[in-house]
């Protein structure tokens, strides 16, 4: 028995500092944050006395909070659909091998290497809402090519602003989805296609009945990865919209609650809500991956 223990104990010792750090900084801090959200800490002066769920109840009645979630919902839907469609089209174009595939792949993926803060600067300029004489960015381009009707206030539109806000995010993340799908395509054995072809299936049928069903797990991962990035969107909004309320999302609201209003309990409560949504998305995915690996 001693021999068996001595084979794995050193390993556990070696990894334990990391495990303890993650345990404290992920799970411990989440717990602490929840405790802050249930406290009376609403000013600069720390107050850890228990207040119950009052802060959460107040948030439910807070119009800014609900508006931030509505904004996030619009953003998320457009962002997910946009990246999934763009990424899939790029992967479809590339999957059978084209000349200079490496070049196209690198170009499509390169925005991933840039920070949202840097790309936000150019997108803020491109999506400048000023109309007519003072127009700039894309609106100028539209009028130059005679498409004046396409001119619009972009992210400052009351209703569809957040859809415009998703454009830079789609620009940035489509390459990621392409890379995931491309890996998925390449993982499908050629024999499957060959067999379908032998049976007389057309190319369209092969995609519909053979290839796409095989891509389901990849599509699921892409969906979850893009979805959780979308829920957490922060830098992009700050870079494009600054702190204008029209483009408010929960992550930005949390930041302002802590930094400007010094309302720590409120900031913690918003963050906890955000965590809840991300967990609902990611935990099943982790469990699924874990089970897959066991097999």
């Amino acid at each position: 028995m001693k021999r068996v223990t001595s084979t794995w104990l050193p390993g556990l010792l070696l990894i334990s500092p990391s495990l303890i750090a993650v345990g404290i900084f992920v799970y411990g801090m989440i717990g602490w944050n929840i405790k802050v959200s249930l406290s009376n800490w609403h000013t600069v002066v720390e107050d850890n006395s228990y207040a119950g769920f009052g802060t959460y109840r107040d948030l439910m009645d807070d119009e800014r909070f609900t508006a931030a979630w509505e904004n996030l919902l619009t953003f998320t839907v457009v962002f997910i659909v946009g990246t999934m469609v763009m990424g899939l089209i790029m992967a479809l174009l590339l999957e059978k091998g084209v000349r200079a595939e490496g070049f196209f792949r690198s170009v499509y993926l390169f925005p991933m290497a840039i920070s949202f803060i840097a790309s936000g600067i150019v997108w803020r300029w491109l999506m400048n809402p000023a109309p007519g004489e003072r127009a700039s960015g894309l609106n100028v381009l539209f009028s130059k090519v005679g498409l004046d009707s396409l001119q619009n206030p972009w992210w400052q539109d009351q209703k569809w602003g957040m859809a415009a806000m998703a454009m830079p995010a789609i620009w940035q993340m489509s390459g990621y989805v392409m890379a995931l799908f491309l890996a998925g395509f390449r993982g499908i054995p050629d024999e499957l296609r060959e067999a379908a072809r032998m049976d007389g299936a057309t190319e369209g049928q092969i995609y519909r009945h053979v290839i796409f069903p095989q891509l389901r797990p990849v599509a699921l991962s892409a969906l979850i990865i893009v979805g959780h990035i979308s829920l957490k969107v922060f830098d992009l909004i700050v870079a494009v919209a600054g702190q204008q309320i029209i483009a408010d999302v929960p992550a930005v609201y949390m930041w302002q609650s802590v930094f400007e209003a010094q309302d720590y309990a409120k900031g913690a409560a918003i963050a906890t809500c955000l965590l809840l949504f991300v967990a609902v998305l990611v935990v099943p995915y982790l469990v699924y991956t874990f089970r897959q690996e066991k097999r």
Binding site: S115, I117, A118, I225
Partner: protein, 284 residues
Amino acid sequence: MATPAVTGAARARLITARTVKYLLLLSFVLVVAMPVYVLLVTSFKPLDEIDPTRAWDLPSTWTTDAWSTAYDQLKTGLGNSLMLAVPGSIISAVLGSLNGYVLAKWRFPGADLVFTICLFGMFIPYQAVMIPVVKVLTEVDLYGNIWGLMMVHVIYGIPISTLIFRNYYASIPNELIESARVDGAGMLRTYAWIVLPNSAPAFVVVIIWQFTSMWNDFLFAVFLVPSAQDSTVTVALNNLTGANVVPFNQQMAGALLASLPTLVVYILLGRFFMRGLMAGALKS
């Protein structure tokens, strides 16, 4: 490639299909490159040429004035980011390598479950830990400086770094580890003799990945080191451009300047960057 059996009409269709495909591919390139064009063109314009009506034109006089002004304003931030991301990514890789080795080759009971529980840490919205982290850093006098920020990045980078190494080490044959064990090598000696010399690609992947995330991060930096003077280049850049009084040629030059290191890394080592991406989606 055309075989004699292919008729003229079918060939014509094939050529049309291929042309359409390349046209689509190129139009995507245009869309992706459009913001870069604007960045480059505007950053090389003199102040009197940046008015919106001429924004899409090439500069009539090329100048690096905007670049040098932007550099002056961002050089502290660039230096801070470098001081954060270079040592930070190396520490991440060392930790990830040791952890990944244990989880792949020196496993303890329940290792997979413990690891999965750790992985959750790389998906969480960091807002949900931020207030306590600020408190802890203040307590140990690391709030508001690069070292505290580095510590936080390293800790929250443990899951992804470990994941990349664990998946990489899974491909090292167990016989190799066993034979070292039979020769009397312990855990650390096996690591030093057999595992470490084979780890170069995984080190490159993790260092690139962590370097890019630390360099591009804004959330941790703005919470933990809010003062633009002491903070990373992303905070400095946002501070510079957020007020909207800085002319656009300087803003664009600043954005390019702040992106240069990660872009160079991507151009030189893109294929390793891609592997990091795949690992981030839990796909090997």
